[in-house]
Symmetry: C2
Subunit: 321 residues, 2 copies
Amino acid sequence: MKKCLITGVNGFVGHHLLQYFDTEKTEITDILGMDYFPETATYTPQQFSYHFEQVDLTEPEPFTSLADNFDPDWLIHLAAESSVAASWREPDRCMTNNWNINYNILRFLKLRPIRYRSKCRMLAVGSSEVYGYRENWQEPLEESHPRLPYNPYAVSRVHQEDWIQLNVKWHKLNIVSTRSFHHTGPGQTNRFVIPSFIGQLQEARKNGQKTVHLQTGNIRLIRDFSDVRDMVRAYHLLLEHGQSGEVYNICCGEGVSLLNIIEILAEILELDVTIEIDETLCRRGEPPIVIGNPQKIFRTTGWTPQFSLEQTLRDMIQKQN
Amino acid sequence: MKKCLITGVNGFVGHHLLQYFDTEKTEITDILGMDYFPETATYTPQQFSYHFEQVDLTEPEPFTSLADNFDPDWLIHLAAESSVAASWREPDRCMTNNWNINYNILRFLKLRPIRYRSKCRMLAVGSSEVYGYRENWQEPLEESHPRLPYNPYAVSRVHQEDWIQLNVKWHKLNIVSTRSFHHTGPGQTNRFVIPSFIGQLQEARKNGQKTVHLQTGNIRLIRDFSDVRDMVRAYHLLLEHGQSGEVYNICCGEGVSLLNIIEILAEILELDVTIEIDETLCRRGEPPIVIGNPQKIFRTTGWTPQFSLEQTLRDMIQKQN
């Protein structure tokens, strides 16, 4: 019997989180969703009562009053400016936006008398971007490795981690943090790399083409991709079993290149694909390899990924059909 | 022949910096000083022309226009909310203040075409507070040790370092950063621990007392104290020889307890001192030991401290007399 507040509920991950809580029978009875953006689809879940509020979280009000009235047991914090490219275009906007949101949420948690503070448990979603760029890749990234943020978005995530760390220590807040690695899945918009590939390939197929010419960024980049549905299950398990003040990688521990992904998609869709690198799609400072070590979350929660990459890609193709 | 812009010039360190540049014949011909606070003493130096502007650096203007007109070769950035205690009282004020100042200064440096950017060299003064609290003290702190910020002020300094690191890398800025350890010297206000001891002891001596009863915070804390006059000389040497993108400890590499300092003061002033610990003066989260390793600045600049602790204390006593 838990009441759960979700910030940034109208994003890709927020929708999967609602779906997960609705499919799995969890301990959640009430959800209050918040987002800066209006609801794109009205959601009528079976397993819990759901209410939505359109709120600018960079301001303390009305967030604080709404959250205080709702009195959540769990707070899942997804709201953030999370585009690396946007953070380069408007670094101060990214930094102050993410800082203010995080600040206001922690401020709300600190309003209670100290003995009640740990009653509300927060899951602070962060990013593997904090690891940044390593000149010499040596081994999958572990939570104890130094953080070397290499873009404004990553710096904003380091700040989030530091501020949480401090407040858990000094104000007895109850917060588990994640470093979520790349994730994709059904419903992700075409602004992201994998849905964009799928969109182009589907389009060609519909036109009856057998051969497709793809314009891509750097397809040699190796990333550790999880399915968003595994990701939201990890969030739930961390709320149940994670240790306050700790940060957890969420990843598979295996790398795949974007070229591999194109090959799998071509196989599923029975297409011949030729590739042209478009320099304008290659972002600066992209580390060639990002693979995480997931042992800490495995040990703490028993979580392991359930979706194979091929299954994820098949489901995405079906959804886009 | 260099023009030098100094932010936060009206503080304790700013005044010593002006004095240092005036006494030593350096390459500086013009100084533009800026501060949020008005000038407390008018300064008419011999060795360079000096101009002061009262400016709120948390706003981009008029700082940007003034700095642009002045066109500095060196920029020494001292301006910051630097009180740990104040950062606990008003964490958001400390964070946004220090962030905005740093952001505006780097924004100014980025206004120039990329080929001129490295012409203006900045010294970003930071703090040993970024090292934070170590459960098990093992060895003097080195620049490569992980940063574990433990108060809002320290977090704001970590953010400063990260933002600088990013901008040196991506925008070809020319910035040397410091982690300045504790420093004291003639002219420091009684809000700080050593001048406060001296004030109390002098007062008793003037009243003809032979024995003094001191109320203190935790006097077992061990710190690595430098003389402010050594500190500003280090700043000058780092502007000349430091490497852009690097951060340098400035410290002696030796620890002394506050109790030791009281003992030295009692000896100089020929007083018997008794001590009472006042719990309200003990700050939370104070690491028992903070000693830095100064090998990197030794190697890079040849700097070594010239003032012994006893000399510093004698000069402070004379100044307060």
